[in-house]
């Protein structure tokens, strides 16, 4: 796959998330941390719950269900009860467009 436009920069306020669906790919949660964008798998690896609703703090997202925390840069687990990391996705901002490559992990480019 390649980069696809998923939303406008203004669609994701700072410290918030947006649930993105790209055909043929699992749901993705896109976050804005002070103008920097991060994309991770939307479903928490612990319970079946959307992380796009999660609480963002210190480049981490906290699942609102059981309070597991993940690093938005790497997907690593920062707090239990989750034990498995999140998948990450490459994000690019082009003008006011936010683009994601669902086939490529963050930092892999």
């Amino acid at each position: 796959m390649s980069f696809v436009r998923v939303c406008d920069v203004a669609d994701v306020p700072t410290d918030e998330g947006l649930r993105i669906t790209v055909e043929g790919v699992e749901p993705i949660a896109l976050f804005n941390v002070n103008g920097e964008f991060f994309a991770v798998q939307d479903t928490c690896t612990h319970g079946q719950w959307s992380l796009s609703e999660g609480f963002v703090e210190d480049y981490q997202v906290e699942c609102t269900l059981h309070l597991a925390r993940f690093c938005l840069r790497t997907g690593a687990v920062c707090a239990p009860p989750a034990t498995a990391p999140l998948k990450t996705f490459a994000v690019r901002v082009d003008g006011s467009d936010v683009l994601i490559d669902p086939a490529v992990a963050a930092g892999a480019l």
Binding site: E53, E62, T64, L65, H66, L67, P80, P81, T83
Partner: protein, 411 residues
Amino acid sequence: MIDSIAIVGAGLAGVRSAEALRAEGFPGRISLVNGEGILPYDRPSLSKSVLLDPGSSPPPLVEANWFANAAVDLLDGEEAVSIDPPSGKVRLKSGLALAADRILLATGARPKSLPGSLEVEGMFSLRDYRDSRQLGKALKAAANVVIIGGGLIGCEVATAARKLGCNVTIVEALDELVIRALGPHVGIMCRDWLNDAGITTLTGVGVSQIVGDRHIEAVKLADGRILPADVALVSIGVEPETQLARHAMLPCQRNGVVVDATGATVADRVFAAGDVAAWPTREGAPRCLETYLNSQEQAGIAARAMLGIRVPSIQIPIAWTEIAGRYVQSIGSLNGEGELITREEGSGTIIFRLVNGRLEACVSIDAVRGFAIARRLAEARAPLDGAKLRDGQIALKDIARGLREVQNVTS
């Protein structure tokens, strides 16, 4: 020098403490006594989804290969029969003994029983996977179900039993449901939800007798009423598993093993965490919290303390539950002095308890995003304006941000 650590109990507290020890780089031996003998698992689903599908299993606490990869000796089917604090010896049922520099008691709790009631078929209690599977199977075949005790577990199981099509009655001796965990205010709401779901709730009345010789036929109440029952669950609370500590003459108070805010007992080698530990709380008296998130946090704190890294943490009880389709989260207790303020938050509700203008506790109903912020405000005992809180138009995020700015200016 700490070379070996024995953890007694492979529930949430035991397993999370083993994880924390390895995460801290502890290279020594870790023995984890796992009485149930199956891969350690997460319990919250036992009173919810596992009941609905007895073929399903609760999620594992860690991947099956974690124990081998982390070189943690999982002693399946073993039980500790005694500990000797001065030497650090743990005697096991099989006759083996572990010699440990530190011992963590993570033995949890067991359900309280009604005297003589469990000999009758159709009577259940709920703590482990086996209990959940058996109860789930019985519910599938049952017409009339009586839940004795309207706390969180009772209300959760009632929800599941109703979903399975049973006629369900909850009998609670206190004047309202879930009083201890969520307070009477939320108790009333809870009763309404359960009633709307078709569940009968009887409060302020005790049980006088279980009717039936071999198999339960009915539950007789103190006021003489008789409720027909094929299945009854006794969910009247738990008692911590303190036998090892008591036999070792370690102080126990309010039933739990007395520890400081790092999980340390009075004996240098012995620590406790999770449901068995009477841990210092912000509300005052140390107590067993019986909650998932507190057990998990205590496990990490006690693990580090065993390695000499003391990071004391006074606990604020924090919990979640699912009752009649509502997702409820709480921090602190709504019971106590102060003012209760109800806020409509999105499609849900948050109830705050303010004491002298500071946030002491809150309960959120179907408002997970709001709770993420409210929880932090409660942890900080943030000074809040009741009128602003009541106003659903002012976002909680903005209230929190305003506070941070004030604090940045004044600090």
